[in-house]
Structure formats: C-alpha cells, structure tokens
C-alpha cells in the first residue's frame, strides 16, 4: 500500500474548486486557512453531563467523555448501552435532552442546519453494513460527495476517487455495482467514500460485524493506517475486544449510560472492576446478568403445572 504518495498534501481541499467565491469563503471560515486549524484543542469531541431518554428508557444519564484528537478511540460496551445512539448524537442526527455535545469546538445543539452540514463535511462515517447507494457504481459512490459539494473537473474527480479506492485496495472494482461486492469489499468501498472529502474525524460503527478473519484484518489495518497517515481522529464503536485491543490507543467502556472505564487496552485488561473484567474477558455472568429479570424460576414452573 503506497498511499498516499510521499509529499502529498494532507488536506487536499485547499485545491478544491468551489462553485462560487461565497462558498469558498464559507469553507475557509469553517476550516480556517492553512495553519489556522483549531489544532490547539486537545480534545476533538467533548461530551458533558449528557442525558438522553427515548421511549421512557434512559440511555444516557449524566454521561461525560472526551475524545482526544489524532488517536484511535474505541467506544465499547455491552449491547443496548447506546453506542450507536452516541454516534448519532455526535453527528447531530438526533439531539440530546440536556447536556453538551461539542464537536471540533462547536456545540451541536446550537448549530443551524447549514452549519451542521458544514460540520458533517469534516466527518466521515462508516456504517455497519456499508450503506452504499445501491443504484450507483462503486466509483460513483465514492465520487458522490465530491459531485454534490464541489465543482471539480471530471479528470480531478477521477484522480481523487481512484486514489481513495487504491488506498482501500479496490481500484480494480471501480466499475462494479454494490450488489456485486462481498461484505468486506462493501465496507472497504464505504471506507473509501468516508475519506473522500478528507475528514478530520472518521467514525466506524461496528466495522467488524459479519466479516471473515481476512476482511477483518484488512479493516483493522486500514483503521490504523488511515489514522496515522491522514492525521485524523478515529472513533470505533465495537464489541470485538480482541480486535479493538490490537488497534485502539484508548478504550472507553460504556455501561448503564455512563463511562465505567477509560484507558489503554492494557490498562483495561488489568482493570480490577467486575464489569470491566466481565466484558474484557467475555464472561457470561457477572454484573451484567445472564438472565433477563424474571420471577422465581421454580415458582413459575409449579404455577403452570397447577393451572
């Protein structure tokens, strides 16, 4: 994988052609000129005292967490702890009941629709099943955001798209339709699509689900490599402990609507807390019970018999 070529610029949007000078100015204002990127902030995402209730069920209850810039942060936790909900809150697809979600210095709740869309252009997201647009070819899927947001000449779009496809190793599949791809290829194309606008934050929602070991290895390698080469911040939501431990710089363990543990994979493996030990070790019973809450077992069996 010889990508990106040595000496390439890490923020190619500087060479993007805008449809008019106004949108170029907007872009400048959002991203700042070269060297004015808000790099001073150590944390790209800060969540303070977040509450979120859906359908009477409390998902987050006073959640506090920070995600540092430039590193691979894994968000883990048992099923149903709201990991995907967290991603939707961070990307502004849903709004919190109370509390603050700050992404790259802007409070999500206070953003107008346009400002939110501008913020989203700085994020890339890899969905669980890839979520490729089924009526477009692989090439067009990756080119989608470029075509929608910029007015680049066809030749440049082609180069950008092929570069990204080369990065995920699927340049040869450019003309295939998404239905012709395997699960792993599907996700790699989605990854190429997520990085086509050169985002600052790259979010992976359950990137390993349903993949064979080879595809899993490929995705793992890509997560690490894209993070380091592109200098972006990666957030990986997953519950594959072994895989995540090999790639993450930091793990946040969620349970019961709160962060219960936070540290490097090594620290978490040595964490004495029962819930952390249960999750990291994959034990069937512990603080997260094996049984769904129910009445007394024998009592219920006997009651049935009497009836």
């Amino acid at each position: 994988m010889d990508w990106p070529p040595p000496g390439s610029i890490s923020r190619p949007w500087k060479i993007l052609h805008f449809k008019n000078s106004k949108s170029a100015a907007k872009f400048e204002a959002t991203y700042g000129g070269p060297g004015h990127l808000p790099m001073s902030q150590a944390n790209i995402i800060e969540i303070r005292n977040l509450n979120y209730v859906v359908g009477g069920r409390t998902i987050f209850d006073g959640l506090d967490m920070v995600i540092p810039r430039g590193r691979v942060t894994a968000v883990m936790g048992p099923s149903g702890t709201g990991k995907t909900t967290l991603l939707r809150l961070v990307t502004g697809q849903i709004l919190a009941d109370s509390g603050a979600v700050e992404v790259a210095g802007s409070e999500i709740k206070s953003l107008s629709r346009e400002a939110l869309y501008r913020l989203r252009q700085r994020m890339g997201m890899l969905f669980q099943n890839g979520a490729l647009l089924t009526d477009l070819s692989v090439f067009e899927n990756v080119a989608f955001a470029l075509r929608e947001h910029t007015d680049l000449p066809e030749r440049l779009i082609r180069q950008l798209v092929l570069t990204k496809l080369q990065a995920v190793g699927l340049r040869g599949a450019a003309e295939l339709m998404p239905s012709e791809l395997s699960g792993g290829m599907n996700r790699r194309v989605a990854l190429a699509r997520a990085i086509v606008m050169d985002p600052e934050i790259l979010i992976y929602d359950e990137p390993f689900v349903g993949l064979d070991p080879i595809s899993m290895g490929v995705i793992l390698r890509l997560i690490r490599r894209l993070n380091d080469v592109l200098g972006l911040t990666s957030i990986v939501v997953s519950h594959d402990v072994k895989e995540i431990s090999s790639v993450a710089d930091q793990i946040l363990l969620l349970s019961g609507g709160k962060v219960v543990a936070n540290g490097t994979p090594k620290e978490l493996h040595c964490n004495p807390s029962k819930i952390v030990a249960q999750f990291m070790g994959g034990l069937s019973d512990g603080p997260v019970p094996f049984h769904f809450p129910a009445t007394d077992y024998f009592g219920e069996l006997l009651a049935r018999e009497e009836a």
């Binding site: 989203r120 969905f127 669980q128 979520a131 089924t134 929608e148």
Partner: protein
Amino acid sequence: MFKEWWNSLSESLIAAGALVRFLFRLLINSPRAFLRMDLIVQQTYNSGALSLVIIMLSGLFVGMVLGLQGYQLLQRFGSEEALGTAAAIGLVKELGPVVTALLFAGRAGTALTSELGLMKATDQLSAMEMMAVDPIRRVVVPRFLGGVIAMPLLAAIFSMVGLYGAQLVGVQIMGVDSGSFWSQMRASVGIVDISEGIVKSCVFGIACSAIAVYQGYYAAPTAEGVGRATTSTVVTSAVVVLFLDYLITAAFL
C-alpha cells in the same frame, strides 16, 4: 367503543396533517430540484416510461369495455351514435385520471415506497445525511417530481388509447358510423371537459407521489416495515384519489 373510534379518527387526522406538512416540505424544496434535471429525468423514466405498458393495456381494455357497455345501453334508445360522446366524456373526465392514478399507485407508487424504505433500512439515507447531503433534496424530491410529471401524461395516454379501444369495439365491431361517433363527440366534448381531466390527473399525480414518498421516507426501517408501508401506499392513494375525485368533480359543476 366511542373511545376507539375517536382514537382511530384522531390517528387518521394526525396522519393527514403529517402528510400535508410533508407535501409542503416537498414543494418548498421543489424549485431548487430543477437544477438537477438529470435526477428528475431518471425518475420520470422510472415512474412514467416504465408504467407505459400497463397503462396502455389497461386503457385499451377499459375503452373496449366502455364501447361494449355503452353500445348496449345506447342501443336501447336508438342513439348508438352518442357512443363517441359517452366514451370520450367518461374517459377524459373520470376513468382516465382515476384508473391511471390507481394503476400509478400500484405500479410506480409501490416502487417508490419500497425503494425509499429499503434505502432507509440499509442506512443509505443516513449515509447521505452524514455526507452532508439532504436526502429530501437529493432523493425524495426528484422522485416526487418525476411522479408529478409522469401522471398527467400517463392519464392522457390512457384516455387516448381508451378512446381507440371504444372506437375499435363501437365502430369496427358493432358498426356505429365512425363519422357520427367522432362528430357527436366533437360537438359535445368541450375544452372544459379536457381541462377537468387534466386538473384531476395533475392533482392525483401530486397526491399519489407525495403519499408514496412519504410512506417510504417514514417507513419503519425493517423488512416488515417496508412491506407495511408499501401496502399503505396503495390503500391510502386509492382512498385519497377517490375522495379528491369527488371534490374536483363537484368544483367543476
């Protein structure tokens, strides 16, 4: 008992309100959508050109039945020549727009709903949101407009083919004089009748397309949800079309 009725009534009112609000959202976003003519052309093709065969076949048979029934009825009064008038008025004002709208809901409407529902279920719409592309603008509105453009054209084609069918049975088979057939039709069909048909088909086109994309866009993102939304598209479209048909007919009197 009353409480159940009241509940289902208020449910339908809420649904109707949501649909109308969604329609306004579509209309507000529509002018801008014409900047992307390629998307509208593609959706006009999907909703219109691909429905052409079923519309023409149905139109032919409806016209032929109309010719046969009309002939039988008019013969009793010795005025078979009025068949042309009867067929033209029936097709242009009523059967053309209404039957086309029902077929459109069944063919193009369900296709729109299930397509949007599947896009939602497979996170394609969320993915667009994440790429800072408004799915309403990029996906929903072009589909809506494609349907709105296709429907009046389909209705006109239906009426024309239907008229040919009526002519085929009435003139070629039953032996009504073709001159009387056409001349009486021309004398009694006014431009008002044609415009009533056009107004109806335009309104039905807006209603059916809006219902189809609404059901798809708000479908529960599961296989079952998409199935239910598709059924709902056909049922809702049929009821709404017949209701609007009455309103427009009354308005034109």
